[in-house]
């Protein structure tokens, strides 16, 4: 059996790993794309809202563990509880960041809020690091193990239980967001503000409130994704947000920035490309490029696609609007 045949056998495994990673990217990408859709602004600090949520969620789990409750409670409840707390904290932080750092410079040239966002990003990284070092003597956290079971979905496809939870919860959030944006009055107002802010005001829509709501939802999703990430990969540091955020942002552009379904599709595809790339790269290139080049492969594919479709997979062709 040659190397490729071995790889083919692990495809189901790769699929589940790729989906777990891809769904996390997708949820984080939503935060970038929603804010961009409304403000045409890249919230560079969104990755830190993800990181902050990861810390909050993990701290909740550690708190339950040190109180001796974690072992006795259902891991599902523990996961949901930590995720919920993380969503509340990240959501509140997202709204605060907008109010303090972005709203005062809303009408300034576009570079100004962007620089403000970079500043917020550094501040949040170092604040979390400072607090964690003071509290635990180290700046990273290891998440307690929640799920140990592995579930056989098909022959050759044995999936850790936690992966199923992560994919399931991410799907649930996507469905909820889609329903909110298409059916709820405030969700529709979000779309109206994204299309034409001035006219939305004429409808009696409080635009500042809608923008705050957008930050709240985007940041809460980021916080939830952070908790899931920490549970899936076991540890988190104040700098974990940066690379993941970059990739999630790329996923948002890849899918068509400003488009909610685009962020979902882009995130999932990027996760799959990355995981499959890591395993197949070595075999396909005869060992010239190993799995450490997975990001190079992923980004090469993205650049290629964007050359031919600059507006992203689900974006409208540039120039159609007017």
């Amino acid at each position: 059996m040659n190397q490729l045949q071995v790889l083919v056998k692990i495809i189901p495994q790769l699929l589940s790993d790729g989906l777990a990673l891809g769904f996390v990217y997708a949820i984080v990408a939503l935060g970038y794309t929603m804010v961009y859709g409304i403000l045409e602004f890249i919230n560079f600090a969104h990755s830190e809202l993800f990181m902050f949520g990861a810390f909050v969620g993990t701290e909740v789990l550690l708190l339950l563990k040190s109180a001796g409750i974690l072992a006795d409670m259902s891991p599902t409840v523990a996961l949901l509880l930590s995720m919920l707390v993380a969503m509340i904290f990240s959501g509140a932080l997202g709204v605060t960041v907008d109010r303090v750092a972005y709203r005062p410079v809303r009408s300034a040239p576009k570079l100004v809020p962007f620089i403000s966002a970079i500043g917020v990003s550094f501040i949040l990284q170092d604040l979390v690091r400072m607090v964690e070092e003071a509290k635990n003597g180290k700046f990273y956290l290891n998440a307690p193990t929640l799920f140990t079971n592995r579930i056989t979905l098909a022959p050759n496809m044995v999936v850790p239980e936690k992966t199923l939870y992560i994919v399931g919860l991410c799907l649930l959030m996507m469905v909820a967001l889609t329903l909110f944006v298409s059916k709820n009055k405030w969700g529709k107002a979000m779309r109206a503000v994204a299309q034409d802010r001035e006219t939305a005001r004429l409808m009696g829509i409080n635009v500042d409130k809608v923008i705050a709501l957008t930050f709240l939802i985007g940041a809460a999703l980021g916080g939830a994704a952070g908790t899931l990430f920490s549970v899936q990969y076991g540890s988190i540091s104040p700098y974990s947000g940066f690379v993941l955020g970059m990739k999630a942002f790329t996923a948002a552009v890849f899918g068509g920035i400003g488009k909610i379904p685009g962020a979902m599709l882009g995130g999932i595809l990027l996760g799959l490309i990355e995981v499959f790339g890591a395993s197949f790269l070595g075999a396909l290139t005869g060992g010239v490029f190993g799995s450490e080049y997975k990001d190079v492969l992923a980004f090469a594919i993205l650049i290629l696609i964007l050359i031919f479709k600059p507006s992203g997979l689900l974006g409208k062709p540039v120039g159609e609007k007017v």
Partner: protein, 237 residues
Amino acid sequence: MSDVMLALENVNTFYGKIHALRDITFEVKRGEIVTLIGSNGAGKSTTLRTISSQLTPAGGRVVYQGGVISKTPAHEVVGLGIAHVPEGRKIFPALTVEENLQMGAFRIRDARRNAENFERVYALFPRLKERYRQRGGTLSGGEQQMLAIGRALMSMPKLLLMDEPSMGLAPMLVELIFQSIVQLNRDGITILLVEQNAKKALKVSHRGYVLQTGAITLTGTGRELLRNDTVREAYLG
């Protein structure tokens, strides 16, 4: 005085650095159709935008039903009963006809009243009912104008500001839009109209004002203005 619905008192508005409105003073009485005429850049749209609080006057006051609204945020002005049909229709292109109308009703919480308003708008413009699931951006110009007016009506306005509602429409549709303006006024809505088509507008108006480079230069009843030599020469061609 109680029959004055809207009064602008020495209003000055700047548009960036341009002094767009200079000491504008005029009033609209309850139940009237009042037209502002003037050439491009005279300040007609700026006047409407100042009333709906999209622009804040640097001096003077906008008084509506006895209260000063010059500093009220735009999204609250709607709740007071002022709806603005903006120039260029400005419908939400990616929202459906129905969703566009729902946005117009954003501040109406009473579901039954909302349903009644939908019926009323669909009765006024049956075309909108036929297309209620279609995206706003796919409508024709005339349909978009109907949608823009219908959307404004969903907020149950007492005063309707209309900016160039007949612009770019075929003659038959222009007729239809003017008919609907008269109809709405009969139903009790006070209307402040800005129109390029001064002749048609003055014909349906009780009174009119002529704006010239940001200042009011002439006023009279619709009929008087139609007969006025200056108006005929400059705006009726």
